[in-house]
């Protein structure tokens, strides 16, 4: 696949989601004859992962961000919409051969390094397996390849680390092994689902710096999923903010974080602990939590919690529209949305 399409250049779009949607059926177990409901986990998400770029997907639990990672990793089939890998639609591909080929290019890193490694196998086993399964073993010694991988992720001396079991490593070291395993097949896309949230504060930066280095050195397209918006600012070039299954704002990281437009992005930013301001100086007034979206009515999903809610918000779902140079927002407060509204009204 790679050979046919040639080398990936920095900035090339490699993985694209178009109107990606995932609904789960929630059947009533008590009254099975009742019409089942649908949980809108991910609704109409568009995103582009580019080589040499880290894209952050930020949101609270229940916002659908992990479902997106699983859709992109093709663990779940989407309900509708498509996934384009280097321009070709992979959504309807079936079969083990296709799956293997896809996974040799798109790899995933999970949140919990304590359960994503096999406790009874040594580190070397974890790295040898993907190399063999994906026929990436170069002539010569597989040991040398394993040692190169361990060195890449900063586990030196590599020969020693290859010999140990996961329980002999700290959380940060285990996550490095998981990253080395994902890197073994020389992927062009890495999907990282909360890779640092289980780690101690003092070692998180080390993992984030490793991500930044891999992005540049290997020209990787990174999807970084997190609930920690400050860490997104540290690593990401672009950011998408999710709320209740929808992307509510996206754009260049600095643009979005320094001048957030959507009321939810503002709420999220103001809630982050900030030692430079006391609690009293900026109290946040927005009670409530991310709702579970089962058969949602029309309208903005943030409307019940929004301090700027208008009548239109309760009846019409806002679109994600470009507002300003590098920023898109799904909110009726902004003129692009209003303009769109008027066009559709006059057309209708």
């Amino acid at each position: 696949m790679t050979s046919a399409l040639g080398q990936v250049e920095a900035g090339d779009s490699v993985l694209e989601a178009q109107s990606l949607t995932k609904h789960f059926t929630v059947a009533s177990s008590v009254l099975p004859w009742r019409k089942s409901k649908r949980l809108h986990a991910v609704d109409d998400v568009n995103l582009v992962l580019k080589a040499g770029t880290i894209t952050a997907l930020v949101g609270e639990s229940g916002s659908g961000k992990s479902t997106i990672a699983r859709l992109l990793a093709r663990i779940y089939p989407p309900s509708s919409g498509s996934i384009l890998f280097r321009g070709s639609d992979v959504t309807r591909q079936r079969g083990r051969r296709n799956a293997l080929r896809y996974r040799s290019q798109v790899q995933m890193i999970f949140q919990d390094p304590f359960s994503s490694l096999n406790p009874v196998k040594r580190v070397r086993h974890h790295l040898a397996r993907p190399l063999r399964n994906h026929h990436k073993v170069r002539p010569g010694s597989i040991n040398q390849q394993i040692e190169e991988l361990l060195t890449t992720v900063g586990l030196v001396p590599p020969a020693e680390y290859a010999r140990v079991f996961p329980h002999q490593l700290s959380g940060g070291q285990r996550q490095r092994v998981a990253i080395a395993r994902a890197m073994a097949v020389e992927p062009i896309v890495l999907l990282a689902d909360e890779p640092i949230s289980m780690l101690d504060v003092s070692i998180r930066i080390g993992i984030m710096n490793l991500m930044l280095r891999l992005k540049t050195e290997r020209n990787l397209a990174f999807l970084y999923i997190t609930h920690d918006i400050a860490s997104a600012r540290y690593v990401a070039d672009e950011v998408l903010v999710m709320y209740a299954g929808q992307v509510v704002e996206r754009g260049q990281t600095e643009a979005v974080l320094q001048a957030p437009m959507h009321p939810y992005t503002r709420l999220l930013l103001s809630a982050v602990p900030n030692p430079e301001a006391g609690l009293q100086t900026r109290r946040v007034e927005a009670r409530g939590e991310v709702p579970t979206v089962i058969d949602p009515p029309a309208g903005c999903r943030f409307a019940p919690r929004c301090p700027f809610v208008m009548d239109v918000c309760r009846t019409t779902t806002p679109e994600l529209l470009q507002e300003g140079n590098q920023q898109w927002v799904r909110c009726h407060l902004y003129p692009a949305s209003t303009a769109q509204q008027q066009t559709s009204l006059s057309a209708g």
Binding site: G172, V201, I205, L268, A271
Partner: protein
């Protein structure tokens, strides 16, 4: 100001068949009436073990080997089981990290309040329910939710219920062990604001345990930093933030990416915390310390005052005032 809680040279060991792991090593700190003291550190540093030791909640293989815990002059470690039972919750209550696990899943919220009141005082059911409704209102939940079961409430609401339960007997001190760690940031802030408001109104003291230092700086009056079973620095929150002394504290402060200001490269702290079964000789931070000296590898530094309200256990800061 006299202390409400005084912990002196507390030592807790985990006794396993093969070895002894000293999880808490000569830890001393105090909490004054009506203040919020933060105890911060990474996983395995002994912060939760210290908190549980204060209320004598530790189970084997953990054991309090030595030290003193004084609450208003009373030694908690010398109390009989009966004394302890009436003391807990009335004088010191505790909020655990996982609200789902600290509420009984098969009884209603009302019954959980009822249980608490019945265990400690003679009140009629009517009186108890009135108090429960008051407490629910206090933490911002509709008293009608008393009829609900824990699974019918959201994570944030459950944690509010747990806080209301902790307040139920008006204790002087509440120990909060990572009360917001399992929650989303918006809910976390909501609950912290709630705690702060209640604390100002009801004047209880809080010992707040967390791994999130940035949260403590905003929220507490004094902060103790723990590393590998020892307190390495103890100072007023703003003082600690503006003038951190211990290289570990400095490293922690530089491990949090900032949301404002210029984006700059951070280094974190290289290496990882030691195995407490075989800690390094001298200062326990020495293998990771960027400013390590020869003395650090052999002699453990003592927690001494550099200025009256700023204690640091580090050879870089020779003692000017010795703490008794």
């Amino acid at each position: 100001m006299p202390s409400l809680l005084e912990v002196d040279d507390l030592v807790v060991d985990y006794l396993t068949p093969n070895r002894v792991v000293r999880a808490v090593d000569t830890v001393s700190f105090d909490v004054r009436p009506g203040e919020i003291v933060g105890l911060a550190g990474e996983s395995g540093c002994g912060k939760s073990t210290s908190a549980h030791a204060i209320l004598r909640l530790l189970r084997p293989p953990a054991e309090i080997t030595s030290g003193q815990v004084l609450f208003q002059g009373q030694n908690l470690l010398a109390m009989s089981p009966n004394e302890l039972r009436s003391f807990r919750w009335r004088n010191i209550s505790i909020v655990f990290q996982s609200a789902m696990n600290s509420l009984n899943p098969v009884i209603s919220i009302a019954d959980q309040f009822l249980d608490t009141f019945k265990a400690h005082e003679h009140v009629s059911k009517k009186q108890a329910m009135d108090r429960a409704a008051e407490l629910m209102t206090l933490v911002g939940i509709d008293p009608a939710r008393l009829k609900s079961f824990p699974h019918e409430l959201s994570g944030g609401m459950r944690q509010r219920v747990v806080i209301a339960l902790a307040l139920s007997l008006s204790p002087e001190l509440i120990i909060m062990d990572e009360p917001t760690t399992a929650l989303d940031v918006v809910v976390q802030r909501d609950i912290l604001q709630e705690i702060e408001t209640l604390q100002k109104e009801l004047k209880f003291a809080v010992l707040f345990i967390t791994h999130d230092l940035s949260l403590l700086v905003e929220f507490s009056s004094r902060i103790a930093i723990m590393y590998a079973g020892k307190i390495v620095e103890f100072a007023a929150a703003q003082e600690l933030f503006l003038r951190p002394q211990h290289p570990y504290t400095v490293g922690l402060m530089e491990s949090f990416p900032s949301l404002t200001g210029p984006r700059k490269a951070l280094v974190g702290i290289p290496g990882s915390p030691p195995d407490l079964g075989a800690p390094p000789a001298g200062c326990r931070f020495n293998p990771r310390c960027p400013r390590v000296m020869n003395v650090c590898r052999s002699i453990p530094p003592e927690l001494v005052a550099h200025s009256p309200e700023h204690l640091t256990a580090c050879h870089l800061y020779p003692s000017s005032l010795r703490v008794a």
